[in-house]
């Protein structure tokens, strides 16, 4: 069983980052009545881009040279943390911070109008979503357990719902942003990377895919960590299978969600995330007092 468990983890580690974005695109296209690109299209894009030499902006300097690889490696490290659990999940926000600082450093350094615009929005999203993400991970590190009851189930769903909203914000997906439009005025991540090309763009894009995969798996792992399934301890391989299935489901849900939702105005972003944070605190206090 240990070998089977390892096999699941290896497959998850190698394929899920590519698969998650592919599924989102495919489901979104199908829901809109289109065929959509192949599920592994982003792997083709990566291999095409990685072979191309980048062209840098007129103001580009050190960040353009080192930021893409930093984003990629940071993504790889946090992805390995959620898959193999070799360290506490508390470290994930710090590797997200590396990715953020490197990306906005790159965007600001190129000195274009869209770089500044994307940076401003990225910081707005991160300030609003980070407290929720941090508290969820903090709660995950505690010994709190949600019991196997109707109320426990409801609390757990609300808790994961709050974390899901934060993850959507962190990934700049609808309703916080709409990456599919490719209209610069509505984008966050893409606006910051308008000047990236070739290998530089490949590393940034793959770093983003690793971040997405990390957050999906994190959501499921946190959910599993604190659930008590009628006082039974699940075998590790079974837990990992649930993680795989759960993470794929999240990709499906987001794909469908993106096909029916639109981006909301920016003033709404901080308010909804603030509200979510307050709900999370109330839930946390309820569980804590219980």
């Amino acid at each position: 069983m240990e070998n089977f468990n390892q096999l699941i983890l290896i497959l998850l580690f190698i394929f899920f980052p590519v698969l998650s974005l592919g599924i989102i695109r495919k489901v979104r296209a199908r829901a809109q009545g289109r065929k959509g690109p192949p599920v592994f299209q982003n792997l083709n894009d990566f291999s095409r881009l990685i072979q191309k030499k980048p062209i840098d902006g007129l103001n580009s300097s050190i960040y353009a040279e080192i930021a893409p690889l930093i984003v990629f490696i940071a993504g790889l490290v946090m992805w390995s943390i959620v898959v193999y659990e070799w360290s506490s999940f508390l470290l994930i926000p710090f590797f997200l911070a590396i990715q953020r600082v490197a990306t906005i450093g790159f965007a600001m350094e190129t000195g274009t109008s869209f770089g500044g615009l994307g940076t401003s929005r990225e910081i707005l999203l991160s300030i609003s979503s980070e407290p929720i993400l941090l508290f969820s991970i903090l709660a995950a590190q505690t010994k709190l357990e949600i019991s196997f009851s109707m109320i426990g189930f409801l609390l757990g769903i609300l808790f994961l719902g709050a974390l899901f909203i934060a993850i959507l914000a962190e990934l700049a997906r609808p309703p916080f942003d709409d990456p599919r439009t490719h209209l610069e005025l509505t984008m966050v991540h893409e606006a910051m990377l308008l000047e990236a090309s070739g290998r530089t763009l490949a590393f940034f894009d793959f770093g983003y895919q690793l971040k997405m995969a990390t957050l999906f798996v994190l959501l499921i792992r946190i959910g599993l960590e604190h659930s008590k399934f009628a006082n039974t301890i699940l075998p590790k391989y079974f837990e990992n299978l649930i993680t795989v299935a759960g993470s794929l489901s999240i990709a499906f849900i987001i794909g469908y969600w993106e096909s029916i939702s639109v981006r909301r105005k920016w003033s709404w972003v901080a308010e909804i995330l603030g509200m979510t944070f307050l709900i999370l605190i109330v839930l946390g206090s309820l569980v804590n007092l219980k």
């Binding site: 690889l69 710090f94 991160s126 505690t142």
Partner: protein, 578 residues
């Protein structure tokens, strides 16, 4: 460097030896004092070198000022409960007064000096009460109030941002990186065991949490670079107080879990102090220099001046990276350990006290997030944005300034590596282990195993990250710029047109979060309220003058009677309390 600077540099190192001569138990009960003196030796030397490159005139006066300033700080550490503490406490303020001579006594500088002297004098008044009273709850209450004022604790912080408005960059760094440590370390040395007796803890922990939040949100919205960093210091100071309060709250607990947490938070206090001192000093020195060459402290006026310097943006950003807790920096070690211990504290559920702590933690984490965003908000426009007015040629800073920034930057990255080396030595060297055990016995202190194992892991990750960044920075093996072009569909907009001010980052959050806590200038409402109250209190004098202008004796008698009754009530209240 002139002769005075060299003498001052030597004098910074001497207090450690004076302490040994005075019989201080540096590896026992006096460890906080030793820690403070070592920090002063390292950071003080760097600040002094920097000031040599920064100042162009009155260098002798500045050096003498620093001599007195450091004498005051080290004297405050070493004098203990004696009249010397009050004297040295004021000597440091006097030294600071002389340091201003380099840039001249402008109205802004005078405002800063007045704020510093006022706070220093008021805090000294309370500390004198501790010195002259026998050890009791009352005397320690006076000491704590004095220390809280001097370290800009929540609500008592009104003076602090004002003290930074007109200060040169190196003095701001000395205030934030060194002066703020003195009250905290004096508390750690003299008050830890008394604190619970005074029954203030449970109220002060949430107040410190609120202080972190107020500091964080004010620093994010303030439009002045130095005030922004000053509020960030308030945020850090309240964080440090929170750790000390939590540590002292459980210090005598019989419960093993609580006792372990107390000791863990005490260790965290030192790690956080190390991070704050180095990183904040760096921020003041690097961003302060940008303010100097732009001749303004307003963030939007300084936009892009970092690009006009012949310094790498990575070097200028090391302080920001540390405050953003990027793995590899000292900030990462401090903030990840904070989260780890917070998760441990959250496990203590059920009683009212833990709810107070939970409340403090919620505010503190919000403040921490806003605090790190503050440093990005300063760094991005000042260093990475395109300048509003392109200078004809780049400015090369003085070699002392460059050297100080580089050495400070190395410390921020290398301290985790040193700590890892130290940890490995303890694990593998029998003699080191024995020495540490004897220190633990002297201190009556044992670092909990779960904290040791966490720190080990974090230090490994931090050191590996540092080596990765370092190799990437030096060799740039992934990519070297060869071809340039622009893809931007923003047409031909270049230069000043795309200069990005800090307001682009903070303004979108003003309507949703900021407006409830700060005014449009970015100053917190609570500061406005407190300042208004102080002014109203001072205006009471005008009221009395108006009343006694008529010269009628009955009004003089009334005035005396009211004062007498007030004094009487005060004495009775004190008697009851004692």
């Amino acid at each position: 460097m002139n002769l005075f600077s060299i003498i001052t540099l030597i004098s910074i190192i001497i207090p450690v030896f004076v302490g040994i001569k005075l019989g201080k138990d540096f590896f026992g009960i006096d460890l906080p004092i030793f820690f403070g003196l070592i920090l002063q030796t390292i950071l003080g030397s760097i600040i002094l070198l920097y000031s040599n490159g920064y100042e162009t005139k009155e260098k002798n006066k500045v050096s003498i000022g620093y001599f007195l300033f450091f004498l005051g700080l080290s004297g405050s550490f070493l004098s203990g409960k004696s009249i010397w503490l009050c004297i040295f406490w004021e000597v440091s303020s006097l030294g600071a007064f002389l340091v201003y001579a380099g840039q001249g006594y402008s109205p802004k500088a005078i405002k800063s000096i007045v704020a510093l002297f006022l706070a220093s004098s008021i805090s000294m008044f309370f500390i004198s009460a501790w010195v002259f009273l026998p050890d009791s709850n009352l005397s320690f209450s006076f000491l704590i109030i004095g220390l809280l004022i001097k370290s800009a604790f929540s609500i008592l912080h009104v003076w602090y941002p004002e003290a930074y408005v007109g200060t040169p960059a190196h003095l701001s760094a000395a205030f934030s990186g060194l002066m703020i440590n003195v009250p905290l370390l004096i508390f750690a040395r003299y008050c830890m065991y008394w604190f619970n007796e005074i029954n203030m803890t449970i109220y002060l922990i949430p107040i410190a949490g609120v202080g972190v939040f107020i500091g964080g949100i004010s620093s994010f919205f303030t439009k002045d670079v130095k005030k922004s960093l000053a509020y960030s210091t308030i945020e850090n100071s309240n964080f440090l107080w929170m750790f000390l309060f939590i540590a002292s709250y459980w210090i005598r607990s019989e419960n093993e879990i609580q006792k372990n947490l107390s000791q863990s938070f005490y260790v965290l206090f030192f790690i956080m102090l190390l991070h704050h001192s180095f990183s904040k000093t760096f921020q003041f020195l690097s961003l302060g220099y940008i303010c100097k060459i732009s001749r303004s402290t307003l963030i939007d006026t300084c936009t892009g001046f970092g690009r006009t310097l012949n310094i790498s943006p990575i070097l200028l950003g090391i302080g920001t990276f540390s405050f953003c807790a990027i793995p590899g920096t000292l900030g990462f070690v401090a903030e990840s350990t904070t989260l780890f211990l917070v998760s441990k504290a959250m496990d203590l559920s059920g009683d009212l006290q833990s709810l107070y702590i939970l409340l403090a933690i919620i505010f503190a984490i919000l403040g921490m997030i806003l605090g790190s965003a503050t440093h990005l908000r300063l760094y991005l426009p000042l260093v990475l944005s395109v300048p509003r007015n392109e200078l004809e040629k780049k400015i090369t800073p003085d070699r002392f300034i460059l050297f100080s920034l580089k050495i400070l930057g190395f410390f921020i990255f290398l301290i985790p590596v040193f700590l890892l080396g130290f940890s490995l030595m303890i694990q593998y060297s029998q003699s080191m282990n024995l020495i540490l055990k004897s220190i633990s016995v002297g201190l009556n202190f044992q670092t909990p195993p779960y904290l040791m194992s966490w720190l080990n892991k974090i230090l490994y990750i931090s050191s590996l990250s540092f080596f990765f960044f370092f190799i990437l920075y030096i060799f740039r093996f992934s990519h070297k710029i060869k071809q340039r072009n622009i893809w931007d569909c923003g047409n031909e907009y270049r230069g000043a047109e795309v200069s990005i001010p800090a307001s682009v980052i903070s303004d979108p959050l003003y309507n949703s979060i900021g407006r409830y806590f700060v005014n449009k200038k970015g100053e917190p409402y609570i500061d406005d309220f407190l300042k208004g109250s102080i002014y109203s209190l001072l205006d009471m004098g005008k009221f009395w003058i108006h009343k006694v202008e008529s010269g009628e004796i009955s009004q003089y008698i009334l005035f005396s009677a009211v004062s007498f009754l007030f004094s009487l009530f005060f004495i009775i209240a004190l008697k009851i309390y004692i």
